[in-house]
Symmetry: C2
Subunit: 197 residues, 2 copies
């Protein structure tokens, strides 16, 4: 395996620190220590904590497996379900802590940094586009009622998921995830009524 560059070490440590502690509570000193580099090195690579956080959000977005949502070898509703199951399992592994870095930064710093807000918005936008693609396929195959609007429903699904993460952290339980899966897959994303033959 290729040795990671100092920059990569810093970014990886920052993903972890920002995710577990939040933007304000994660210090550059902690990040440098976790990366095993002197504090000054962080500022050699990034002009500010905000600049580092922008790169972190980019990297985090790449781990959300959005590509799987457009994999047409898998049925569209199966793709959607597996996507949220992957996200749920990740949270369960962390004992219902951490949540989603995009959502966390959205709640903590979206009002205070235009650059970070733009990046969070971009992240959510890419995500809801990927969800909308799968929903569009589900409408085409008739797995979901044709009156369901894919774009609107994608925004709603993503919001619902982000909120379920916060509720799961507060209750340290899977209950909000269970409510998400049953409401979404048994209620919202269902086929239309067939006309009687």
């Amino acid at each position: 395996m290729a040795r990671r560059s100092m920059r990569e070490e810093i970014v990886n440590a920052a993903v972890d620190r920002f995710h577990t502690h939040g933007y304000n509570a994660a210090g550059i000193k902690d990040i440098a220590e976790a990366a095993g580099v002197p504090k000054g090195s962080v500022y050699n690579h990034f002009e500010s904590k905000e600049a580092l956080a922008l790169v972190v959000l980019e990297l985090y977005g790449e781990t959300r497996r959005l590509g799987e949502l457009s994999d047409r070898s898998v049925e569209p509703l199966v793709r959607l379900r597996r996507h949220f199951e992957f996200l749920r399992d990740e949270q369960e592994q962390y004992g219902f802590t951490r949540g989603c870095l995009l959502g966390n930064f959205g709640a903590e710093v979206a009002d205070h940094s235009m650059a970070l807000r733009g990046k969070i918005h971009e992240g959510f936008d890419q995500w809801s586009h990927a969800l909308a693609g799968a929903l569009r396929d589900a409408v085409m195959t008739g797995d979901v009622d044709s009156t369901v609007d894919p774009d609107t429903t994608a925004i709603f699904l993503l919001s619902s998921w982000e909120g379920a993460l916060v509720a799961a952290r507060s209750s340290r339980s899977a209950k909000p995830f269970d409510a998400f899966f049953s409401s979404v897959f048994d209620r919202l994303l269902v086929p239309g009524l067939r006309e009687p033959a």
Copy 2:
């Protein structure tokens, strides 16, 4: 109007600071200045920032108008819609900033303070119980399909709302709220199919 006590001044200033800046970014010094009291006075009334935040969450919960959800002089779906319209209008007044204090603390500090996590959980729990009550009434009146489970759906509605707040802050737009209203009131909370006569 009765003059507010110093304690009340501090708590009111803290609600505002925590809501606009978040838990970690709101300093006791800022809170004291906003309340117009010396910093030491805050510590005379509250042993820690955490202790102050617990009182703040209690007060914030009381402003969520949960009582209206059980007002049986109003049709249950109208109660639910008005509830979320009140919350939406509040966000629009703030220019899509601030979000919900419970959700913000849930994302920022739920993993780091057992006391705050408990209080956030309690707040969400009271809220989803109030929503479940209105949903139960809607099922009884036949406004909502009888196979909808009020408790599960209440948890889902609250999550969906909390996530919509984060998305609205990130996009500085009402789009996530629009997606919430159409998905919830046109799709999820609808009457069951009537048997043909």
